[in-house]
Amino acid sequence: MTRFGRRNEDLPDLMAEAALATMTDAGVEHPAALVVAAMNPEEFTGEGNYGSLLGTRLGLSRVPAIRVETATSSGAAAVYTAYAAIAAGLHRAILVVGGEKMSHLATPRASEIIGRSIDAHERGYGTTMPALAGLITRALMHRRGVTLREISQVAVKNHAQGARNPFAHFQEPVKLEAVMESRLVADPLRLFHCCPISDGAAALLLTSDPAGSPRRVRITGIGQGADTIAVRYRSDLTTFAATQAAAQAAYRMAGYGPERVEVAEIHDAFTPFELISLEDTGLVPPGKAGRATLDGETAVGGRLPVNPSGGLKARGHPLAATGISQLVELTWQLRGTAEGRQVPARVGLAQSIGGLATNNWVTLVEARR
């Protein structure tokens, strides 16, 4: 993957940087197919037909290419698409690349484009992603007793971990007071509870070939869950049914449950989402995620390290790169090459949220024996 943050390169160059690093690492020069994830390059960069565009830029112009999109979980959806094609026996090695380029636009413009993944009627009232996250956060605090300190500690933890990740957008720790006193974005949500607008790309090489490098990791479960695009159609704001369904599907496929997971990469686009997601995936019992975070259970060095990469909060969130970058981080963690932030783990879980939890994914990965 590339370093995330404000980047001067264009999106195809960022994707090529990530793709070439992955192909070199995997020792594969010519994958059988290419799956490209980009959420909204037409509006962000003015260019479309991204599968073919990237194939030609990469020197893989004759390799079959597909573009996949499920809003902010597009990267995870691309991994699923490639996994399914390999499982069906269509190809033996597929390159998955995802990325987004947004920081050249003014923040209100980038936010408006991201917000197009919200139901049109709700957008008509001025609803943005932070506004929906604000509604969810208030409900979480009011109905579930989650505290401002707990959602702020997620930011403190993920910044501290991002500070040890050379690929992260933010590499500076933040203090709890600074998070709790940062400016209000969508009451009760504050600036330091929100992920930044980042550029970047990430890539993975998926193969059915069991031989080769012992550094490979295995996908043991992958699941998708869906929910209404209109948040007003949902009866509960404090859990994401799409994550719960995705987790159930992934655990069923793997043949085990959350008890075997030793490291997780969670979609903390807004820090309260990390608390919701830890409970939706069953990694933490209902109602306990805030306390577990304050107690350091979810920090590197704790019982279940969550977002050792820094998460979306600190590593950054270049939309379609994110779901792939979570699995890149888990690959490094399971191989034992996550220098400076290595955790002891053999099983990892990645969870990705598309839109306002309309199309979510859970993927389980294991170190090879």
Binding site: G126, T128, A131, T137, A139, V185, A186, D187
Partner: protein, 85 residues
């Protein structure tokens, strides 16, 4: 203030949605027209300090539960209060 809100009801699961929709979100069946009183309970609310183009800050947004379980979106230029509808 409107005297009633136009809604749709699913003939199969009885689910109510506002504004009216052609198909139920949970079943591919045609919904029936319904009307609801314009009164409900605020489920959650927020104040958006950087609203999108065309809206003035601060923008107050609420999710309101109406009779029969339909949930509606509301926006206001003044803070929500217990009596707002």
């Amino acid at each position: 203030m409107a005297q009633e809100l136009r809604a749709s009801r699913c003939p199969r699961c009885r689910r109510l949605v506002v504004p009216p929709a052609s198909l139920c979100p949970d079943h591919p069946v045609k919904m029936e027209a319904a009307v609801l009183p314009p009164l409900g309970e605020v489920v959650s609310f927020t104040t958006l300090h950087s609203p999108p183009e065309g809206f003035r800050a601060p923008l107050h947004l609420a999710l309101v539960e109406l009779a029969g379980g339909a949930r509606a979106r509301a926006a206001s230029a003044s803070p929500p209060s217990a009596s707002a509808s």
